[in-house]
Symmetry: C2
Subunit: 341 residues, 2 copies
């Protein structure tokens, strides 16, 4: 299989574990002939599931793991004590060069801690970040950091901007992605010292920096990359998810109001389904743990089979495009000056 | 008019100015017989508009102002140079005790700076906050600070919690409102030092503190008060508004897809209108500038007549309940210990 990209898949992660990941991988291998999968899991769990599936043998390799990292386990414990876990072995496969990327729907904190420890960050990147494509009017916005760390320095925000730009360009084929810095106003004096300094650094850099943006700009389609520290990004992402969920719940309630609305609801089902499809953040699956020496994709724990397959496809795209190398290169081209003390 | 509460209304503020506020006030006075209005505005603008309206004379007093604070004017300039503005005079009326509360749809920054300078903060309150009722499943969540200042100390977050509790109790008749602290996880070790310390202080206080909450909890109806610093709160609020707007836009787009969906859209109009009504943050009008020696309500600049009238009603409720006194009292009852250095 010349040209095929190898993806390590943690079969044990996610709310539904191997029962979801194994059939999803087999389905993906049948449709995407340029992907190989190293399926990492506990033999007693994965092998019986594999036996029930048909798949192209030569593009699936089973890799045995002895244990599983729990969804609520502490990242430190997972890193120290579970060296034979499917999560750890998946990361190791990338470090050893046997896999070009990895996908896990497991414990996010453990995945981040393990990937950071094993793969290390790229030269010039102080901290990895979590980035995801958020649905926006007319397309998507790449948003980061979504919670890898709780704060960020001006230099780290610039690093996030570089990483977001590379991903937006590679995954959504956007030339010179427009980068915005999340703030509470668009005027240059808004926000705090960290944001004002980051804005100054981005202005003199080579990215397509458009300035400060506000919460309502994230989904408005006016920028391709929204940069913030992990605390703010995490609050914004979860608030967005909450608003979408509340709207869908409210619609369901309004539909139940009387016989006329119920009838309307029945006829409107395809419409609601189309909307949910476009807007539920879970269908845009595959957050990237970016800034590492390797491609690491975190699938949503509640992802269904289609979403999980999309996470593997995202991993394949990033591996083929060489996202880590591109980030290191673009970062080197920034004229990032340290803030004067 | 014994028992009537007096509200100073800045007639000149808002996107549509006196053209909206004057008829709104006249309509309100006809329906709410226990409210008096001191209508503050430029005579040449307001008087011709008043002449076209019918209203109960004895409950409307016109107060003349010489100038108007622009919507984009700097708060410092407004405070220093526009002492005869309708905004400043409205605040002065509260300080002088001639009005029990004030409502303005004008420049938020100018209103905050002026109210803080003229009325001063309550004893024990270091900084005022902006609080608003956000639509949530089953009711509302009072959220603060929405952007009065960019950061907050643990003690200030506790002060916000006290102010939010009083408002939730008074405006939505909630006994012992459930208070949550906005964070990026619910475990006690999540977030940053400021949040962890604020959590510790709230735990030993007398409020009904339920712990850390996340972005998706704001609209979920599980808490009555969500506390955060002004930066985080402002980002969350605007992100929510953006998500709701994006969903409504997307629905409109989906409806235009073909003749069947267009027909469906036609029949669904009452449904969509009901949803928009429930969810558009603008219809829950009247953010309170809380923590001041006086009741100050900021109406949304884009508020329509109904929303502007609701802002005046909110002002009347807060004045009658004596929100500022209640806050001072409840604050005194907190056993807020300073963070050990």
């Amino acid at each position: 299989m010349s040209g095929a990209v190898s993806i390590a898949v943690d079969a044990m992660g996610g709310d539904r574990g191997a029962g979801l990941t194994v059939p999803a991988v087999c389905r993906l291998l049948s449709s995407d002939t340029d992907i190989r999968v190293l399926l990492v899991g506990v033999p007693g769990v994965v092998k019986p599931l594999l036996a029930k599936q048909s798949f192209p043998d030569h593009r699936l390799e089973f890799v045995s793991a002895a244990e599983v990292v729990g969804m609520d386990e502490s990242p430190v414990d997972a890193l120290r004590k579970k060296r034979d876990s499917s999560l750890r072995i998946s990361v190791d496969l990338v470090r050893e060069g046997r896999a070009d990327a990895l996908v896990s729907a497991g414990n996010t904190g453990a995945l981040m801690a393990t990937a950071r420890f094993v793969l290390k960050t790229l030269p010039g990147i102080e901290r990895p970040a979590i980035v995801s494509a958020i649905p926006a009017i007319g397309g998507h916005t790449h948003m980061l950091d979504l919670g890898a760390s709780a704060g960020a320095t001006p230099a780290q925000l610039v690093q996030f901007a570089v990483m977001g730009s590379v991903l937006a360009a590679d995954i959504h084929q956007i030339r010179q992605p427009r980068v915005g810095l999340l703030n509470i106003g668009t005027e240059e004096n808004k926000g705090n010292d960290v944001l004002r300094e980051a804005g100054r650094l981005l202005k003199v850099g080579t990215l397509n920096y458009v300035g400060f943006v506000e919460g309502h700009d994230i989904m408005a389609g006016e920028v391709d990359v929204v940069v913030s520290d992990g605390f703010t990004g995490n609050v914004a992402l979860k608030t967005m998810e909450g608003a979408v969920r509340m709207l869908l719940d409210t619609t369901r309630e309004e539909v139940q109001r009387n016989w006329a609305t119920r009838l309307l609801g029945l006829f409107s089902r395809p419409l609601f389904r189309a909307m949910a499809q476009r807007l539920d953040p879970r269908v845009y699956n595959g957050a990237t743990l970016v800034g590492l020496n390797g491609v690491v994709i975190k699938s949503h724990g509640a992802a269904d089979s289609v979403a999980f397959q999309n996470a593997i496809r995202t991993a394949a795209i990033e591996a083929r495009k060489g996202v880590p190398d591109q980030i290191a290169e673009l970062l080197a081209r920034q004229t990032v000056l340290e803030a004067p003390v």
